[in-house]
Amino acid sequence: MKNSSLEASQKRMTILTYVVLIAAALLMVFPFIWMILTSFKTVAESNATPPVIFPSAFRWENFRDAVTSLPFIKLYINTALMIFFRVICAVAFSSMAGYAFAMLEFRGKKLLFGIVLMQMSLPSQIFIIPQYQMVAHMGLANTIFALVFPGIVSAFGVFFLRQTYMGIPKEIGEAAYLDGCTQWQTFYKVMFPLTGTSVAALTIFTAVFAYSDLMWPLVVNSDLNMMTLSSGLATLRGQFSTNFPVLMAGSLLAMLPMVVLYLIFQKQFIEGIASTGGK
């Protein structure tokens, strides 16, 4: 009697869990489905009240219009280069700084690390104006360097990799030192290879952040040929009216490489986000 009531309550709990999860999944996936449906609609259908859910026909010309109104290949290349250099810089500098903060003793270490933590706790938007002024004074606006600039050093990356290095037993570094390694050899031959999972996580985190970064690329590069996908798409928004079907078609095209990458690296992606505690 007791067993059957326990089974029934467990069953109810399982059903409830599924209902909540399915509802949450639908809520998450709805904007994507709406984007796909809108990308095939006419302008009238996209602006209709009450909203029209399904397009009357699949209008592929929206995709043609998106591709012709934006230099998509250039946007792809710019975005890829920005992500590539931001990842390289974040991994290289965060690894070195993280190692130094975790393993080395030097004057001012606490103060410097305090500055890193402080930078992490401030919203990145407040740095946009000084950063723009720096890039502009260097005469490097409208360049790939300008896109990479705020991501050269990542305070989060420094903190994250410092924590990783602190988790590695000190004896491993000491053993390498006794084996004949210099400080640099200890770092790149022994310690850095041990941070593989964290570096992968930082890579994914940096790449996702760079890909979705809109404000900085929009501010620093006004030349359409030097824009990223996100900032390029933003130019499709008009001041008085917006062609939503073309905008959605463009967004869909911009999303594709990331979706493909996600499908290939799904496992690492989830592990990476989980280990950064990002979401």
């Binding site: 037993p169 004896e171 491993i172 000491e174 053993a175 390498a176 030192y177 006794l178 084996d179 004949g180 390694c181 050899q185 022994v190 290879p193 041990l194 593989g196």
Partner: protein, 396 residues
Amino acid sequence: MAALNLKGITKIYPHSGDQKKAKKKKGEPEKKTNLQVTDQGVVAVQSFNLDIADKEFIVLVGPSGCGKSTTLRMVAGLEEISGGELYIDGKLVNDVEPKNRNIAMVFQSYALYPHMTVYENMAFPLKLRKTPKEEIDRRVKEAAAILDITQYLDRKPKALSGGQRQRVAIGRAIVREPKVLLMDEPLSNLDAKLRNQMRAEIIKLRQKINTTFIYVTHDQTEAMTLGDRIVIMKDGFIQQIGTPQEVFDHPANLFVSGFIGMPQMNYFNAKLVNEGGKYAVSVENCKVVLSEEKQKNLAAHNAAPQDITLGVRPSHMVLARQPGNTLSATIDVSELMGSEVHFHANANGKDVVVIVPTMNADGERIDSFHAGDKLNLTFSGNVCHIFGKDGRNLEF
């Protein structure tokens, strides 16, 4: 192979900023150990003097925080030497980089490189020295054969057991053919059975490789079985240096007597008396005349009759057949260990441990004693230890 001379080696850890602030506030820093605290900082090792002969096996032993690992790390070059001089083969090496001291170290936590195979781990120090590939291969395989890990050369450390990992760590140390091999509690992470096995392996290893060993442990069994000489440390000071038998038979002070020997030595409040030029010790009703050797030693130091702490090891306590010139005790707990029985008894308020064989020379079984039974205990004059009020052995 190398001789080492440690002359007045001292290690002072400077006060950290927080400690300084605390000192300013309270006047005195909070004391967590018995280490001496000076204005410069906490003195972890003080005036450590030791000459280590070529190929000697020295064991540094002592409780946690006594400075044994710090001393080892100073020899390795991982800690700066605050004072004193360290010579390896007559060359002052205080300021020599660890890699140029030609020493190798085995850590308690193995400290293997997890991303490298066993072979790569062992080859790593040789690669750094740009040793030719054939030579590296020969030396790694030779060391692997000595340590019986040849079959694991392609494995990563995570695929090995604790004992195998420690062998690899030893292998990585010996491929370099170092002048001095340092071992920092290498067996502490192993279970009891494996520890015994590895202890024997280290004794065998020592016979196979010609090098000087400095071994740190808090385990007195390891110290007694491995060392040519033992250095017993406490609170940063050397308490005694000697062969295992010397420190067991002639402990320099109460600390050494209690630290070496398992179960611990029994202590009694007693009197040292001198009757007719003969020294004797008197505990309650029991008076024992000391052996000739002890008579000489005490006389040489002009030991005056006084109150003493008398120490007798559990295995040196003897069961007397009849009460008389004996100590009487009541058994609290009796532990049958197979060939011997450990009696935990109460002798006039003092806890006493007595180890007796289960069968005496006459073939009489002694395991019939139980809790509450009375024992008559005695000891001979050549196995007792006489400590003065300051804890020093009066024979020294």
